[in-house]
Amino acid sequence: MARFRTWVGIALAGALSVSLAACSSTGGKRAEDARKAAAAQGRAAVNTPRWTFAMITHSGDGDTFWDIVQSGAKQAAVKDNINFLYSHDDEAQQQAQLVDAAVDKKVDGIIVTLAKPDALKAAVARAEKAGIPVITVNSGSGESKAFGALTHIGQDETVAGEAVGDELNKRGRKKALCVLHEQGNVGHEQRCDGVAKTFRGTLRKLYVNGTNMPDVQSAVEAKLQADRSIDSVVTLGAPYADTAVKARTDAGSKAEIDTFDLNAKVAASLEDGTLGFAVDQQPYLQGYQAVDLLWLYKYNGDVLGGGRPVLTGPQIVTKDQASALAEYTDRGTR
């Protein structure tokens, strides 16, 4: 074992010295640091008391979308002098318990997603009873008001899907493929159903295993090979768009790839024409607005939307807007 340890030590030392010598003159962190040099850091812009807001979402671990929501919420919290707490659980029951915990902590405001509304009804009601204002974000536009939330901020999934269907019509597409990366996700079904509603061509669905990228690629590839008449592929999350592009290349298909949601890669691919368009629901805005509106409510009694959901999307992003957005997707706020 001692010999083994020496070996590991030598190997690590070797790797470190090699890494210092074998530097990449392109890309990497140094390039990013250079870009970031001028970026400013936020600080509190108000002198209201330091309230505590809790945000509880139905996000799974390591989800890029929710990362952006969180970064919006955090920046608003810094500006509004808010102590911001974030927690998440993709199991509805666990999420409800997290809401209960926030109520027990007597926070000054709660932001919650209603992906599985029934499971959260009691927890939200408990918050209302304790006099804690609640804002719902992202999912649950239908239930928000009935549950007694101040307002709802988010995108209607069906409406977003319809926007995609319209855009596909505009581009003269005949047969589209909707790639669902999570079987049984209600929001995903609503998106594809929304596309089917307005799209005048045929829409097929393809379920893939979202946690296994090679599987996603080979499934899309197989589908494109099996049906040569597919002329557009719609993915429901930004990371899957790039994978679909690779599948298209390997399958020798000419289908256009379009996607829901943005990330740095999607912005770059839109710009160089690899992707057709992206429909963005502006997750940054969902986090930012939720915190800011709670602050406005506490400070000034303001409520937005008059009982109706405040929509953050869908915004169709094409080649023309992509270059302007690249900077923001790089820093993870779009």
Binding site: S19, G62, N209, P214
Partner: protein, 347 residues
Amino acid sequence: MSTATDEKLLDERILQTSPLRKLLTRPELGSVVGALAVFVFFAVAADGFLRASSLSTVLYASSTIGIMAVPVALLMIGGEFDLSVGVLVTSSALVSSMFSYQMTANTWVGVGVSLLVTLAVGAFNGFMLTRTKLPSFIITLGTFLMLTGMNLGFTKLIDGTVSTKTIADMEGFPSAHAVFASTLTLGGVDVKVTILWWLGLVALASWILLRTRTGNWIFAVGGNEDAARAVGVPVARTKIGLYMGVAFGAWISGQHLLFSFDAVQSGEGVGNELIYIIAAVIGGCLITGGYGSAVGSAVGALLFGMTSKGIVFAEWNPDWFKFFLGAMLLLATLLNAWVRKRAEATK
């Protein structure tokens, strides 16, 4: 367990078996029959399944499972289990990507560091197992959870987001891409390089199992650990080696993931460990250890690849996707078990 030896030993104490009977007792026979059945089924049911490009897609899907199924099969023959492999693949890709990016180093440096880190995780699993004598299920479940947390935690801590930054514009990327994720054209058909890695690993593992002393040790520790120890087999060293073999497979898969998609999402990989284990089991590995083959795991992976993509080619209603997948797998495994029972009865 019959090890194939070509020498004719003319000794009345040794039972002469006909080549056919020898073939029937091979662990992978059942899965081969199952794979042939599934192949014929989709060749008939799915339009375009037999096209060269479609078969290359099926092979690609199989190879990404197969690369991991080979070392997992070896580990199972050695009587152990690893639940951490699915996320270890992601960890391997993350280490590679983040080291290169943060150090602004040539991507090959990241690849090397990742190999060391991944092998260290494998050694940790093996070391913990042999030292504590706890079941491998518990040890690797612990590693699985720790790795899942570390993947997210470190990525967020270092990169600020939950997925890594692109390294496609860095030095060394094209050559690493060629090694781990390129597409070769052989006779007019596009073949993914992962298929070559897969075949190479199957050949290497088969050679180790059937032709080397280490292979005997693996069968021995999986069959009966105490008996193996009694005859001088280094049990601990063999098991640590097997876990490091699994880690090596995870490293190859991880580098493929990184260099074909160039940015890695830290939450990926959870659940894939079961797919690798399923492939090894379909391929004839016993969950109790001591029996199985590398070729069998490859056939298991092929079966998985054919089924999952055949359903897409057949254009069946996607709502039933998982049901068909499960039913096909169950059927193949049952057929596998039935053939093996028949074969063993005739011994």
